[in-house]
């Protein structure tokens, strides 16, 4: 399901270090999807989370629970989002998806699962796909972050991938579409002329419950070479 995720374990001590230094896993270039879940959770705990006995009330098989945080303090940082430096107050345990959606008003990055399963939150960090729901904002301070809102040219022209998704009627309900487009852009950057099967592999970390896969593949193939 998340086969475009190459997990990497940054080791016992480096998660906190990364948090401090702002060197997110994605910046190591080791994995397409950056932070591993283990590192991610460790990062949150290091940042001062509590795990209470109420776990059973929400923590059920196969799904994450919300981690309440006591006494967390926001810190003002700079983020390079869609080519613009944005100053934003960020909590230590805040995910990039939450920062984008709730602090910067960039709601095109969707939250489908909030645990690295569906890919609706896919954004690019220095042209590499990352699940924004499982990336701590503090770890991407030195990255160029690209979201779906950053694709259109200043004059309003669509990115060729966006145009291809329109021409092939790629989306159905549209909720996974931003993520599909971001993954397509990353694919075509590294492999401008993919086969249909390569495109399937590259987009396999992006779920579509409507099952619009065939039209999405048509869109990718149309965009190939033009993006």
């Amino acid at each position: 399901m998340s086969s475009n995720v190459n997990f990497y374990d940054p080791g016992a001590d480096s998660a906190l270090e990364e948090l401090e230094e702002g060197t997110g896993a994605a910046r190591t270039g080791l994995g397409r999807n950056g932070t591993s879940r283990r590192a991610f959770i460790k990062g949150i705990i290091a940042a001062g989370a509590t795990v209470s006995a109420g776990f059973m009330l929400h923590g059920l098989a196969g799904c994450t629970r919300e981690v309440p945080v006591r006494g967390a303090v926001e810190r003002l940082i700079s983020l390079n989002v869609n080519g613009t430096v944005r100053r934003v107050d960020v909590l230590p345990q805040e995910t990039l998806a939450m920062t984008l959606r709730y602090k910067l008003g960039l709601t095109g990055t969707k939250l489908g699962c909030d645990r690295s399963e569906c890919g609706a939150c896919t954004v690019l960090l220095d042209d590499v796909t990352t699940y924004a729901c499982s990336t701590l904002t503090h770890t991407v301070r030195k990255s160029q972050i690209t979201t779906i809102e950053g694709l259109q040219a200043a004059n309003g022209d669509l990115h060729p991938v966006q145009q291809a998704f329109i021409d092939e009627l790629g989306p159905q309900c549209g909720f996974c579409t931003p993520g599909q487009i971001m993954s397509t852009i990353a694919l075509l950057k590294s492999s401008p002329r993919p086969t249909r099967e390569e495109a399937q592999m590259a987009l396999s970390g992006n779920l579509c419950r409507c099952g619009a896969y065939d039209h999405y593949l048509n869109s990718v193939m149309r965009a190939a070479g033009e993006a």
Binding site: M1, P68, T107, Q200, M201
Partner: protein
């Protein structure tokens, strides 16, 4: 018939927002001072709240309010409540808490102490039917039946019922619903081959990618609600009822819906929480539903434990069907899938004689509701492989046996044996066989390549496809634009826009000059049916047709009034009304719209037809004086069930060592009348097929019978089909024969597209195994390995929610 717009591809107006991230779904809205709401869910499958201590939580700075079941109106039993003091499944919402931030709300929820008394529970209908079996609810174990709904009673079978059957056979004790036509005894006596098969279909979660978040606030006595709903106008009275207000006091915004598949068809209780919380706190309230909450609240397809006895004459004709279904119905009202399953059999295989019996049984698992092809698709997964088994035993080609039993325009449907508007399944089968190259492909059955074997399957499925009696509303403004007001909703099929083009077609409009008004009840929308049940294409092309015809008449009337002569002397062309023999006598639509405003009365909406719905009347009144109004109720002839029929052909390669299949080819043909939007149809056929692949071979509820705990709440564990589970190429075709009871000949199609693919895959797996029939969905890899190696399955024959 040749059309300018119908049957042509176009870019639906909402696609642009979807590819740019500008499309706003319910969780994308913000309001000043917005609070965040979190839910406390039941940790046990059935319990009673003895005490709730919220004191610690309420002491926390920033906590704004708590709602319990005592703070919201009770919902008549056995329907799903908004909040409950007797949770009936793990995940049932007990209370909601709002705070300044979501983190704070989550932390405050942890401080709440709940004293819960555990009560008996069950996750297996048959267990509940045992003489001393547990009841899922304290007031009974079976909701609905006897042709009624809205009640609950207790049904137990006798020990004799259970003892009367052989191992693996479904016992058939007291049922709650029965119908029949013909005489099944005569039918079975006539049969050369009779099969009696017990079967299981798994319950499956909807897993809409957009969880059902909602945001609400109050302003000037009105409640503003941003919700994730498939439907627009049809949802309004039901949402208003949950909130306890009049429909006209609800401003309902549902411009985009991130997947519903039936689970967001109308209104659902959790949507009311932010409205009540906002009323309590005088602040806007957002409830972000998490992925796990979506699993619990997002409803599920009911599973079946059933038995199908089916008789065939020596030429393959179905002489008799005797169907019995025990439906796993969840803890609340549940669904009517078992009834729809029986209706589907009566149509797709036209049995000469048929009897249906069934009973819904409650379990302590998530609430059941309609999921894409509710009932029809489950039964397609079961009966289609059984048809293959019969064909094999009778020595008949599998494609031929389907044609022999296929419905036509004279077929009678369901319990009432009513007419269909038209049916061309045979055409679909023939077209599919040709496109798939059936005659050659079927020879590949069983061909081995190492551990891999070729399997070929055919699947058919049905759903009804349209309704009538709703309203259409269009408006031509003095700038010459046509505004098509549509209240149908935006499920993601683009049918809201494809059917709007019917109005443009009738009025001879350039599509560039048309505007679709939708997605917000303030946009003066007509009363339309909901966007579910594969009905939109049929229903909405009728409403837009009647509204456009009303506008057309008014255009002609004004032209004749101002330019002389009778309306028969004029025609509509290039957005003008032109005299047929003297083209100097012409008026543009823009000019006539201005005249309509001057003339008032019926022309500009100051008068409205008597027979339209009150909601449409309010919308017409709101638009009065802004242009020429076309408005009418759909009173066109409809005296039958419009069917949506699909046949799918699939080739797979099944690995007998790993149990995995790879789909090499899939061809599907839809019988949905005139094709109105080829790309949209292709999306439905292929997207539905993907969901069908999940239904056939991947997805199921998994419950621990000891503790009633779910084992696959998340998306990964639920194994939704990914890009890697589907073929790189699929092909979609249509019969494209017009339906006589639709003005443009169109019918819907969105549901059977799933069942056909699911059944084709199951048939292909059985074919690859040389005719091993599982009588169960899903058929997962370990079942294939067991079958291939002659080992017994790890589950008992009638076991449900299997690991």
């Amino acid at each position: 018939m040749s059309y300018k717009l119908i049957g042509k591809n176009f870019t639906p107006p909402d696609v642009m927002a979807k590819v740019t991230g500008k499309a706003k779904y319910s969780e994308d809205f913000r309001a000043d001072g917005m609070l965040f709401c979190k839910l406390l869910l039941s940790p046990m499958p059935h319990g009673r709240v003895l005490n709730i201590d919220t004191s610690e939580a309420l002491k926390m700075p920033g906590v704004a309010g708590i709602l319990t079941a005592d703070d919201v109106p009770p919902i008549p039993k056995p329907a799903t409540p908004i909040l409950t003091n007797e949770p009936l499944y793990v995940g049932d919402p007990i209370l909601a808490l709002a705070a300044e931030s979501e983190e704070l709300a989550a932390e405050a929820i942890e401080k709440i102490k709940i004293d819960l008394e555990p009560l008996p529970f069950t996750v297996d209908p048959l267990e509940s039917l045992y003489p001393d079996g547990p009841n899922a609810r304290s007031d009974g174990n079976s909701a609905g039946g006897y042709g009624k709904s809205g009640f609950i009673d207790t049904v137990k079978w006798t020990a004799r019922d259970f003892a009367a059957v052989k191992e693996g056979e479904l016992p058939m004790g007291q049922h709650k619903y029965e119908w029949s036509y013909g005489d099944i005894e005569t039918g079975f006596n006539k049969a050369k081959l009779t099969l009696d098969e017990s079967f299981i279909t798994a319950s499956t979660a909807h897993h809409c990618l957009e969880s059902r978040s909602a945001m609400a606030y109050w302003q000037n006595g009105k409640c503003f609600l941003h919700g994730s709903v498939q439907s627009q106008s049809f949802a309004v009275p039901y949402v208003a009822r949950y909130i306890g207000i009049k429909p006209e006091d609800l401003v309902f915004i549902a411009e985009y819906c991130g997947g519903g598949f039936g689970s967001k068809g109308v209104a659902y209780p959790i949507m009311a929480i932010p409205a009540y919380m906002s009323k309590k706190t005088s602040r806007p309230v957002m409830i972000r539903i998490t992925r796990s909450e979506e699993y619990f609240l997002g409803t599920a397809r009911p599973g079946f434990q059933g038995r199908l006895k089916i008789g065939f004459s020596d030429d393959g004709r179905v002489t008799a069907v005797d169907l019995y279904i025990v439906q796993e119905n969840g803890p609340y009202s549940g669904g009517s899938d078992y009834l729809s399953a029986a209706d589907a059999i009566s149509l797709v295989y036209t049995p000469e004689n048929m009897r249906f019996r069934g009973i819904p049984v409650q379990t302590n698992t998530p609430p059941r509701g309609a999921q894409r092809g509710p009932g029809q698709n489950q039964i397609a997964c079961i009966i289609e492989p059984i048809l293959d088994k019969a064909a094999k035993e009778l020595g008949i080609d599998r494609m031929t046996i389907r044609k022999i039993n296929a419905p036509d325009n004279h077929t009678k449907y369901g319990q009432k044996q009513g007419p269909v508007t038209s049916a061309y399944l045979t055409d679909a089968i023939e077209r599919g066989a040709e496109e798939f190259n059936w005659q050659e492909k079927k020879l590949l059955s069983g061909k081995r390549n190492g551990s891999k074997v070729i399997g070929i399957g055919i699947g058919q499925a049905y759903h009804s496809a349209g309704a009538s009696g709703y309203d259409g509303l269009v408006r031509i403004t003095p700038d010459g634009k046509l505004h098509i007001h549509t209240g149908v909703g935006n499920l993601g099929t683009y049918s809201y826009s494809a059917t709007s083009r019917v109005a443009a077609e009738i009025l001879n409009y350039d599509w560039e000059n048309c505007v679709i008004e939708r997605g917000d009840s303030r946009k003066h929308l007509p009363w339309n049916f909901g966007q579910f049940g594969s009905n939109t294409t049929f229903t909405m092309s009728r409403t837009n047709y009647v509204a456009a015809m009303d506008a057309r008449n008014k255009l002609l009337e004004i032209a004749a009034m101002d330019l002389g002569g009778t309306i028969d002397e004029y025609e509509l062309k290039d957005e003008k009304v032109i005299h047929k023999s003297d083209s100097t006598r012409q008026l543009s639509y823009a000019a006539i719209a201005q005249r309509a405003i001057e003339l008032g009365n019926k022309f500009d909406g100051h008068e409205a037809p008597e027979d339209i719905n009150d909601m449409t009347k309010r919308s017409v009144a709101g638009l009065a004086g802004t242009g020429l109004i076309g408005v009418a109720k759909d009173n066109l002839e409809k005296n039958g069930t419009p069917p949506a029929l699909v046949v799918g052909f699939m080739q797979i390669e099944l690995d007998l060592e790993t149990g995995k299949h790879e789909i090499l080819d899939y061809v599907a043909v839809a019988d949905c009348g005139t094709v109105v939007h080829p790309m949209g149809l292709s999306q439905q056929i292929k997207g539905g097929a993907v969901m069908g692949i999940g239904m056939a071979a991947l997805e199921r509820h998994v419950y621990d019978p000891q503790n009633g705990l779910p084992a696959n709440v998340g998306l990964l564990d639920s194994k939704l089909p990914t890009f890697l589970d589907v073929p790189a190429h699929m092909s979609a075709f249509a019969v494209d024969k017009p339906d006589p009871q639709n003005p443009v000949g169109a019918r819907g199609i969105g549901e059977p597209v799933q069942g056909a693919a699911a059944a084709a895959l199951l048939g292909a797996i059985s074919d690859a195994l040389g005719g091993h029939y599982f009588n169960r969905t899903p058929v997962v890899a370990d079942m294939v390995i067991n079958a291939a190696s002659g080992r017994p399955q790890s589950h008992k024959p009638l076991q449900v929610n299997t690991f």
